[in-house]
């Protein structure tokens, strides 16, 4: 049975290739009638004989679409959905109840559009490493929503875009500190796991984002190295403003600590 090769190339220009295991599963599945393929696709344990990997399911969905068997393609899609929907939903739960469902639908729509578009190969990597490609798609959607929410929050507080007082810099909420440079709070690494639960106590979502980037992601607030990604560049705010945010976040956490002890 001929298995169609992938056509897309990776970032180094090398053609993507499925693993031998996936190609073997595809060949075996192509020899079966659709009903038998669906029976095997429903096997959930990856250790069970006959189990079909997600990469194989995607190939089969595209193959059945090429043959005009839309019904089988849909049934295989539903089986694939059952395997990955929970992990996608879990990745997006920090977005809040108003947005998590929309973000989930965006991710899954993005996945199926790539699978069903037989004229395009942008879904090829899903046939190589599904469990890297899908989290990548989910993370990209997550970061788009975070950015949108942070901008919306900034507009609500009247603090988005240029500073309220033209020509000044500093925390849009408290104004510049003319006396001294703002110092960052120092949070020891070993305290971080204990703070995760308290992160929702940081009232301003931009402060929360900056705090997580700084202390969990070890991203610098500013850097002399122009190549270095910094929190200041990310938000388009001065380092002083970012440090003010971090201090405010620390205050919110101290309040939370006080309430929980």
């Amino acid at each position: 049975m001929h298995v169609r090769p992938l056509t897309r190339r990776n970032s180094e220009g090398v053609a993507y290739e499925r693993t031998a295991e996936v190609n073997g599963q595809i060949r075996a599945a192509l020899a079966l009638e659709p009903r038998a393929v669906l029976e095997r696709a429903r096997i959930r344990s990856h250790k069970a004989p006959g189990y079909l990997r997600e990469e194989c399911l995607i190939y089969l969905i595209r193959e059945y679409l090429r043959r005009g068997s839309v019904r089988v393609a849909k049934q295989l899609s539903e089986i694939l959905h059952g395997r990955c929907a929970r992990s996608v939903n879990d990745r997006l739960r920090a977005l809040g109840p108003q947005h998590v469902e929309d973000a989930f639908n965006d991710v899954m729509k993005g996945l199926y559009e790539r699978i069903y578009d037989l004229e395009d190969d942008r879904g090829d990597y899903f046939q190589v490493r599904f469990w890297v490609a899908l989290p990548r798609l989910a993370t990209k959607t997550f970061s788009q929503y975070v950015e949108r929410l942070a901008r919306a929050k900034a507009k609500e507080k009247g603090a988005g875009g240029p500073s309220i007082i033209p020509g000044t810099e500093g925390d849009e909420e408290g104004g510049p500190d003319p006396v001294s440079d703002v110092e960052e709070p120092g949070i020891p690494v070993e305290e971080l796991p204990g703070l995760t639960e308290g992160l929702n106590a940081i009232k301003n979502p931009r402060h929360r984002i900056a705090f997580v980037l700084r202390f969990f992601g070890r991203v610098q607030v500013e850097s002399k190295d122009s190549d270095e990604p910094t929190i200041s560049k990310y938000f388009g705010k001065t380092p002083r403003a970012i440090r003010n945010w971090l201090k405010q976040a620390e205050k919110d956490l101290e309040e939370w600590r006080g309430e929980t002890t």
Binding site: R35, R71, H81, G82, N89, P97, V146, I209, R218, P229
Partner: protein
Amino acid sequence: MSERNGRQTVEDVLDAFMAAEPEPSGAVLREWIRRYPGYERELTDFAFGWILAENLPPDPDVEDPDEETLALRGRTIIDALLPEEEQERAEEVRRPLVGLLSEGKAFGFSMHELAEVTGLSPALVAKLDQRLVRFASVPREVVGDLAKAIKQSADDVSGYLRRWPVLPAGLEHKADTTPSLPEQQDFFDAVRQDRGLDEERRRRLLSLPRPDAG
């Protein structure tokens, strides 16, 4: 395949980034920006999103959807992207069972494998497939086991077994005169005479209640 545009290439870079790095950090990101300076913004947005996705706790107000809710969301999206042809929907109306062996083959069973899963012998399976066994003598358990193996209802399998016997393939072309339909055999006689059946299996089949008794 299709022409590369900036957006497609960015996806490949982000896929490579996620595949190569167990977790994101400022230092790791700096290296990738050095390799792909044209994608600084995209890499930064993605890496920061990755850090946040890994570390921000779930919103306490978000309710966990159950499996049925997630499945329904999936069906809605899939149905919208793949509207089904009316013709395919009509084909879903049940087609009659055309053969025990052909149905078994659809599930990857050979004749021997079908015999194994149903507790019969290959010869018995072949006779039942060709309807050379009188239906009234076939125990209900045997009908049930066959139905279970080929994912059909017991009624459909019974309906199949009730029909006229099948002429062996090609026989009508070889005979000088019109071949007559073969005699149907009693199921229990077929079991007693089957040399290919092991004794334990024979005892089990012979112990099954006759459906035509009484």
